[in-house]
Point group: C2
Chain length 400, copies 2
């Protein structure tokens, strides 16, 4: 039969990043395009032991449907972990387990915004939030970033302007630490300013912190959630970057009234999070493996970041880039007349791939930008890939 | 802060069944309320061996992000399983893995219907579809059932009537085999009639078949998908009832153009299905364990069904009930003046729980109905629980 789809599906496009996964598998390709953790960081041996324990001790529960809000034992462990790791003081009832933090990114716009209403994001921002906003027909206002993340004075100007036109955004979405895609981190004073503005305009904040544990240099900066005196911040965490992404286990920390709404929606979305994955995460924290694994991951990624930064310093001309203290990504800005999307074909011919920066904007993309992942490729490939990218940019410039 | 939620969240209520889970854990309670498989049916030993193999051989892939459409090796195995098990001839590109089949129930109304548009369901029908329709503001027309499932002549009347008013439902949702909640199974001639009607009115069918493998008596009847000559049927399957629900692994079988839409939406919903769970399902089919496990599950559940039917015959007065050939549920109709929802408090006082039938209707519920699960309780508890239920009904009648 000839199928007719809903109007909404017409807006939704496949993510450029998912499409790029194809190129990763082309022979000889060096891809900085994905957001994949390096499998060397997966605690495979430890997880094998944990799985043995689970199947010996809790098989009936680990294979059964769980509660929509998550495994109680894991929520207890997470409360302790959040206190120890991020100085976030919450009770288990402030925590809900999710099918990756992407599920929270999908649900929160539905919970807070009607179709056609606005939210605020950084520009650029994480594509997973953009695809959720598009799927749910929620509009966004982007706030520019500098080396210190979201420019809060611009945020203030935009909120004032929106207010004068009778529009109140439904939340402010931010990745303040090692931002994806840009790699910037918001310093303490700007975090405080952001909280003040949110309070003044009475707008909830969604703090997405998938990379907070992965700091390679500089001092730890408190999360917005730990600074939040007015319970305005909904905090998103994930085991994807500190354990394994294939287990699709994330968590949302918020007020019970927000989680109650999320719970109702999650019942319709997938009933409950994977029980086996939650038991794995529970044992991973309980046994303290998480605290041994993170430093190993940091050592591996720090080296890769340094190799990429050094290669950029050595080979790259007519471009600037962020120097992230952590996370997984660098943000490269080419000269204004360059278009990273148009250049991608040449890059792929030269056997190097990246994500064009325009994928990370809802409106008014900066076309001369690209995101580079430094965690997945081998050390040699990082160096060689940056050489190829520098060559590609040089060739592209000559062709203009 | 005081949170404001979207208009849409106001429609969404917590599922009565999820709420009932609380009572399962009250001391002495016998609950026929849940839809839980019996943990005795979980192939724990076999899954432990499978997990060892996976961690030895594919840990890097099983812990990494997977493709949104699902693990290619599992899709290959599923194509063979569908051929062998249900005579469904499809290629791997007709298959998509999902986070439980609930994810498909959530996504398909979004894919096919705009808010305010109509779909057709059986009345009563599965609550997971009803909560998705509510969450997505899609309306439904219910078609009554008799012992042979959806009454297709009534369907025809309703579609004719809707057409005369310019309304075309976006799909027909059916659970033709061991229906949840009613336990009815549609015979072959009615299945053919349903397909004819769908073709005549050019409306896609969603065939939900979570229980098809669990037949305890009678002859196997072909799935709608296997009878579908015009590619009108989207088929939903799950490992929840034949392996383990906690692994949240379902699958959707449809035309590539439908799955392309689903893929775009799933990228926003949760990126990809749990990789470890997919490797488990892959090995579970590849090693043929599935074909040994299903007969064991059938033996266990057949006995439990028979015990419940016998207890109903022995103790229950002034009520009728379905006599399902498979699945997990019985449907009880009390006399017309009874209200199963009002009676639930008395039942819980008598330490027996069920789901009131009204939970399974979008519009115009039959208040004198209830769903009983016969797979979860022990054999003794089934008998004792039915005694308590019969006593509850008698007391309730006397109080009216």
């Amino acid at each position: 039969m000839k199928f007719e789809f809903s109007d909404n599906m017409k807006n939704l496009k496949s993510s450029e990043i998912r499409e790029l996964l194809k190129y990763i598998h082309m022979p000889g390709m060096i891809s900085f395009g994905g957001g994949l953790p390096n499998p060397e960081t997966f605690p495979s041996k430890e997880l094998k032991d944990i799985l043995d324990d689970i199947m010996d001790n809790y098989a009936s529960s680990a294979l059964q449907y769980g509660q929509t809000e998550g495994l109680p034992e894991l929520k207890d462990q997470l409360a302790e972990y959040l206190k120890r790791d991020e100085n976030i003081n919450v009770a288990p009832e402030n925590i809900m387990l999710t099918t990756g933090s992407q599920q929270a990114l999908y649900a929160l716009p539905i919970i807070f915004a009607n179709p056609g209403e606005y939210v605020v994001t950084e520009a650029p921002t994480y594509v997973g939030m953009l695809s959720s906003l598009t799927a749910n027909q929620v509009k966004s206002v982007g706030v520019s970033m500098d080396d210190e993340g979201m420019i809060t004075t611009e945020l203030e100007d935009k909120l004032r302007d929106l207010k004068s036109r009778g529009t109140k955004p439904k939340f402010i979405y931010t990745i303040p630490t090692f931002q994806n895609p840009a790699g910037y981190t918001m310093p303490l004073d700007r975090r405080k300013h952001l909280l003040e503005i949110a309070e003044q305009y009475d707008i909830p904040i969604i703090e997405d912190n998938p990379y907070g544990d992965l700091r390679y240099s500089g001092q730890k900066i408190p999360t917005l959630k730990s600074l939040d005196k007015n319970e305005m911040v909904t905090y998103l965490g994930t085991f994807s970057k500190i354990m394994a992404p294939g287990l699709r286990t994330g968590f949302t920390v918020s007020q019970p009234e927000v989680l109650d709404e999320f719970n109702k929606l999650k019942q319709a979305m997938d009933l409950a999070t994977n029980s086996l994955s939650q038991y794995i995460a529970y044992e991973y924290i309980r046994k303290g493996i998480i605290y041994k694994q993170i430093p190993k991951t940091i050592d591996l990624y720090r080296k890769k970041r340094d190799i990429m930064l050094e290669a950029l310093d050595d080979y790259m001309e007519d471009a600037t880039w962020s120097r992230p203290d952590g996370g997984m990504f660098l943000w490269v800005k080419l000269s204004k007349n360059m278009d990273a999307f148009k250049m991608l074909k040449r890059a792929i011919n030269n056997k190097v791939a990246y994500v064009t920066g325009s994928a990370f904007y809802h409106n008014e993309p900066e076309l001369n930008t690209m995101r580079l992942n430094f965690t997945y490729s081998s050390d040699e490939d990082i160096k060689e890939g940056i050489k190829r990218l520098a060559k590609t940019i040089k060739e592209e410039k000559q062709s203009l």
